[in-house]
Symmetry: C2
Subunit: 149 residues, 2 copies
């Protein structure tokens, strides 16, 4: 595929353009919601293994662990919770995300740090259980303060 | 966190339950749309590097490559394009997704195969350009037939 065709394809595929930090608020809101939807399902699979609801499968666990480890930082680093993204589309982001951004960032980074530990833990059910419990605490910790009911 | 608390957390976090293949159609539609939104942004970053719109950064490219490689199979394998998911929420999935599922699966698997090549290619701009062009062809190929305008 020629680069000019790739450019056309990108233009067709992306409504947000390449300057992601300058994407419209509704695009940022959509992206962060999408990231959380994807996150929830992968966390669900890992949690189900941890709980014994589904059999532990090292390959599947590793895939979801790597997905979470690579995805988690992106909404924050891409500016999807940045100034101006408190409106533009329905959102459960609490106003404190925007009034205390440094504290929000600290809570969010507990989440990302927990996801970074998942790949190493995913190869064994005992270590996975610990990592999943730790991760779940960071979800709850951030949601308690920064996601509206 | 005790396992019982984790169970409660999972129940609170997930509306779809642990039997993902039996999730409601609207949940599956939401999941696959979310996966594509996340995919589009990562593809956008890699494409922007391939085009020279943003500087090549090996660490960033590797992150997005690994994200795509681990995410791409999930909507199909999780049944998010399965029987009954042609309705329940707005969707751009073409009716042919459901009338010719084996052909759709073949097209979708060209996409997943292309994502699996990304991590190895992401360390070098020249190899990344080739891998991104190949991936873009699979996006277009599947969308031409299976995504409504």
């Amino acid at each position: 595929m020629k680069i000019k065709h790739l450019a056309a394809l990108l233009g067709a595929c992306l409504s947000i353009g390449t300057a992601f930090a300058q994407a419209k608020p509704e695009s940022q809101i959509e992206y962060r919601k999408s990231a959380m939807t994807v996150t929830a399902r992968s966390f669900g699979v890992l949690g189900a293994m941890a709980k014994g609801d589904i059999p532990f499968n090292k390959e599947v666990a590793t895939r979801h662990a790597n997905l979470l480890a690579n995805l988690s930082d992106l909404p924050l680093s891409a500016g999807a919770f940045g100034p101006g993204t408190d409106k533009g589309a329905p959102t459960k982001a609490d106003p404190k995300v925007f009034s205390e951004p440094e504290k929000f960032k600290a809570a969010y980074e507990k989440f990302t740090a927990a996801t970074h530990g998942l790949p190493a833990a995913a190869g064994d059910l005992a270590t996975l259980k610990v990592a999943v419990a730790d991760l779940g605490k960071t979800c709850k910790g951030c949601h308690d303060d920064y996601r509206m009911k």
